[in-house]
Symmetry: C2
Subunit: 308 residues, 2 copies
DNA sequence: GTCGATACTTGCTAAAGTCAATTAATTGTT
DNA sequence: AACAATTAATTGACTTTAGCAAGTATCGAC
């Protein structure tokens, strides 16, 4: 069943399609002045990028009517852009290749297309260009069913990531549970302390990232020599549903074991169901629970432990 | 001059254009089975989304030949999809509107297009859909020449914004000046204190935002009853060059005046040329300067003051 | 060899789009 | 107010683009 959010996203995609249709139309305008139609240009492009392919291949790739394509190829042969030699293996097919003249024609089309795109990108600063291509790569990866989905990666924090943690925690818990700014302050305090008294041999932070965009985090910090604390576990909505929370916690546990801690503790709230489940699955057990009033809400705080 | 990186990005954009061309082609296939051509469908879409517009507007929007468009409209009128009534203000033009039948035709096209997009998105998890639409929004924002730089607005902070300040400061100063994480820690500390002991009557923070995306910030906090401190002024690269820094500082000064402070002080570094200029322009004067070693760098700290 | 499928070709046609000339109304100029 | 220039829309003549269907040669399986 579709919910309003789904509808919003569909509408957004359709708006983008309209936007990009006209954008591509603008870019194709150069072709109107060339002696080739859009289909012809696409055929030339395919020919330039495949050595000695058959008409069939091109037709399949560009989804062109075989009759229409046949005539296009015919015309190219007549104009001396394409050479056609019979394929010994199958004499119904021909091996098509661009001639020198054909490659020249391609080079011209290619240069025009290149320049058009370059012109479109010129007003953008380098950072903006990067964001543009990153966004395009994201779209391609998501919509290309053949391509593997972008895997989330866990990595060490980089400059700005601690701030990102504060931001995502502050925004998420305010949005989803109505917590007030004292929570964001608490998180800021935690990350400040982490940065200030960071002990690389016994403490660590991981950022989960998809397509170069952070979507989750967790921290393991020293309590005392025996006890580590797991803190600030969060996966943003965009990263949910692929086991990232589990991976982050698993990473913490593995690291804690390697460090020689005997126990991991953590403090969480009863209403955070998803997090609770992750802790449970990882072997944590609930050892204490008490109501408190914080972050503008009445909550039930819970302490969980995992013996290593 | 183009460097290899630029070329890579251009190639990436062109690859995306080819990819999305064929993707849009697939989506438009439904139209082949409808009684309307792509252009006709686009005209119907425009008519459905503008009340009583003229042929001229549509032609401009869709970049259609006036003769061709005239015939399309003619056909729609003949088929009873569109009503045409003369525009009193200019009798060369006509006001075009979809009739009930026309709206029905639109509804059908719209539904088909909607369903196609919905089908395309179905295999994606919710998080993936979010990333898809976010990526599309990024592309639109970057490429839309009409609103390339939407006007920046200054607003009060919202949940997550304090974290954003930490993130942007941490990332910017690391990238641009090589400052280490102790700086990000300092910022986290400052925002934590701000949130914890915030005095709404005498303290304030502003976020500069373009298109809903934060690009800058500043804070005015209480030193003592007479002296306010200006802190954490920053405009991200994407927001620079439009006087946002000046606006943020001006906002602080106005607020400080209204609060009855006698003086604003601030601490900055000699290497931050852009910020220095902003303070100078606003009337601040340099009152002290001393070298120090912080954030992994050798810096010259400066204290500036503005008497109110 | 026969049969069905495949790779293309050819003839025919319709749809889609362009161009130039025309009309009618509006705007700007002196 | 008269006149030229411009604009919105229309019309006729035309080309290009595209798609279908029937036809030909070849291939692969039995």
């Amino acid at each position: 069943m579709l919910v309003p959010d789904d509808e919003d996203r569909i509408a957004a995609v359709r708006a983008f399609n309209r936007f990009y249709t006209s954008r591509l139309g603008v870019l194709d305008q150069h072709l109107l002045k060339s002696p080739y139609s859009l289909s012809e240009a696409r055929v030339i492009y395919e020919l330039a990028n495949r050595e000695g392919c058959s008409a069939k291949e091109i037709g399949a790739e560009l989804d062109l009517d075989p009759g229409y394509l046949s005539r296009i190829v015919q015309k190219f042969v007549d104009d001396g852009l394409v050479s056609r030699k019979p394929l010994p293996a199958d004499r119904r097919q021909h091996q098509l290749n661009l001639t020198a003249k054909g490659r020249q024609a391609f080079a011209k089309l290619d240069r025009n297309s290149h320049d058009d795109v370059a012109k479109m990108m010129r007003p953008l600063a380098e950072g903006e260009q990067r964001r543009l291509t990153a966004a395009m790569a994201t779209i391609e990866r998501l919509l290309e069913p053949a391509a593997p989905r972008a895997a989330a990666v866990l990595r060490e924090p980089r400059p700005g990531d601690m701030g990102w943690i504060v931001q995502s925690q502050g925004a998420c818990y305010a949005r989803e549970y109505g917590w007030d700014s004292s929570f964001e302050a608490l998180v800021a305090d935690i990350v400040a302390k982490f940065l200030n008294s960071f002990d690389a041999s016994r403490e660590r932070c991981w950022i989960a990232e998809i397509d170069g965009v952070p979507v989750g985090s967790v921290m393991l910090v020293r309590g005392d020599d025996e006890v580590a604390k797991l803190r600030l576990l969060l996966v943003e909505p965009t990263g949910r549903g692929q086991g990232l929370g589990h991976r982050l916690v698993a990473e913490c546990i593995a690291f804690a074991r390697a460090c020689g801690y005997r126990k991991i503790t953590l403090w969480t709230q009863s209403i955070l169901i998803a997090a609770r489940k992750i802790y449970q699955d990882a072997g944590f057990v609930l050892v204490a629970s008490e109501p408190h009033r914080s972050f503008g809400q009445s909550l039930i705080g819970e302490t969980w432990e995992l013996k290593l």
